[in-house]
Symmetry: C2
Subunit: 324 residues, 2 copies
């Protein structure tokens, strides 16, 4: 049984940039207890290479290799491959840094030889000195497709090639109905001693919904003894980065933290909003949610650790109040 | 019919570094008439990428992009991919520069989508501003394998991973009996107006023999109206670069220009040796070969052009004497 100190495992559901920041904070506090289940709906094959953008962002972030400004890719990256590719090829809309490319080439090579994405991610984590358990949500292909006014676009075409400019009508996760949870995700989700499930502040529609779309995940969240806590990806109606607000407007949802909480609905036990958004606390409480209002703008490493610490304390408090 | 001015096509058989130098000289004089048929026996799949080392060396050399010191790879290359690969992977014995990698990735992508190596090479040539016609010897796989005291090694394992240290017993070209000549090679070889066939100063055993091993090539050389001229890859018993002399010793052949001429045998009409090797002229003439002795050490671009010019004049002289 779970003790008050919360030494059970922590499961974080995570997309790319924003989510990875909180995952880093969690890893700084409790790397040996942490499983980060990462969205692979953005994965795609480009130039014959299997690219897993969110997995790479989480790997680079937890390894201390991430570009601190861009939020994706590697620090001190160089772009000589891209320059040479432009000389001989046409498919140059997706930026591949010289160092970043090494993971894509090595991952593709290993996948071709029959290794699973989980096994490859474990190897990369180990080689990069990461202690937390980073797992793809599934080893089966799930492909996020964005239904827009310009047609159905594979995620990266929408996100990178078209720079999120088409109007989003809906989002589908092709393959999700058939995809099995990765062993690591499934084990963490069904761990009877799980201490917390944290939905990181990634884009709910593009980055978290793919995880939730997999068979057994919603049931796992509902059945887990661990409190399920989401951190809002919006501060006062604005995302730090990315098209969340634009997409919410296109989906005719008010772009604020309350809408995010409603989107996750009954899955949540607690919701963390920015302290600039205290006006949503009352309606959140009215939904039956426990709440915290703190600064969720993670600019420094200390910010990431502080937010992670707050979220873990919050989970602990919910567990204690349940057991009281 | 061929005129005295020799405006017919020129066919060069070429391997990597040494051969590419002469090919560049030829391209400087007669790029629009030149077909360079390149050894693909060194091609291999590495990290899932199709790598064509000799084709790339010829492409880079004729595009003015080659590393002037190494002789292979690109000038101003960077190695950040390799550094990152060493962090996450094990297969790091073959050096892949960041810019060089672009050709491997794009070539692999196009091959996977069903394009031929010839078509891809044509596209790369065009994009890199090369006027001469660079063609792989075949679009079918031919793989040079070196039979050594350490077993049978794929060419790159022998050449790069083992640094040519195993003792060579023989060399085989797997697939050669089934491989068809590429259309470009076949068309040039069988051109009734061909002005010259030039065997570039590449390693005869490793780089030229793969071309000669293909069905129809020896017959094509014998039946062509064009003089067949080889340029010695040795100067006074030494190769400028590479394991030619070591291999000759292991094959129990005297490491000198005369042995090279004997190796090509009846295929040749003329043989160009270095002016330091004038002692071999009499035995070469006794074999029935026309000869030239000039400086064949190509250090500068002018050296390359001068040797190319000499070879073309030599071919012209042989044609004139035949028609006299």
């Amino acid at each position: 049984m779970m003790g008050r100190n919360g030494k059970g495992r922590i499961l974080a559901l995570c997309g790319g940039v924003g989510g990875a920041k909180l995952a880093l904070g969690l890893a700084q506090i409790a790397s040996e207890l942490l499983t980060v289940a990462v969205n692979t709906g953005d994965d795609f094959t480009h130039l014959g290479l299997h690219i897993s953008p969110d997995l790479d962002t989480v790997l680079y972030t937890l390894a201390g290799l991430a570009d601190p400004l861009k939020g994706w890719g590697r620090a001190k990256e160089t772009w000589n491959f891209m320059a040479a590719l432009k000389q001989v090829g046409d498919e140059d809309w997706f930026q591949l840094g010289d160092m970043d490319l090494a993971l894509h080439v090595e991952r593709t090579r290993r996948l071709s030889s029959g290794e699973t994405l989980s096994a490859i991610t474990r190897i990369f984590s180990k080689k990069l000195g990461i202690i937390a358990d980073i797992v793809p949500m599934s080893d089966d292909p799930v492909r996020t497709q964005v239904v827009t006014d310009k047609g159905i676009l594979p995620f990266q075409h929408y996100f990178v090639r078209e720079r999120c400019s088409p109007q989003v009508k809906s989002i589908v996760f092709a393959g999700a109905e058939k995809a099995a949870l990765s062993e690591g995700f499934s084990a963490a989700l069904n761990d009877p001693d799980l201490a917390a499930i944290i939905i990181c502040p990634s884009n709910p529609y593009l980055s978290i919904d793919p995880l939730l779309s997999l068979s057994g995940v919603k049931e796992g969240l509902a059945g887990s003894p661990a409190p399920v806590i989401a951190v809002s990806p919006l501060i006062h109606g604005q995302a730090i980065k990315g098209p969340t607000v634009k997409i919410m407007a296109e989906l005719e949802v008010s772009p604020n933290a309350l809408s995010i909480a409603r989107h996750y609905g009954d899955l949540l036990d607690g919701f963390v909003v920015d302290d600039k958004d205290e006006d949503v606390l009352a309606p959140l409480n009215a939904m039956g949610l426990e709440t915290r209002a703190v600064s969720i703008h993670m600019q420094s490493l200390d910010d990431r650790i502080a937010l992670a610490s707050c979220v873990l304390d919050f989970a602990n408090d919910i567990r204690i109040s349940r057991n009281a």
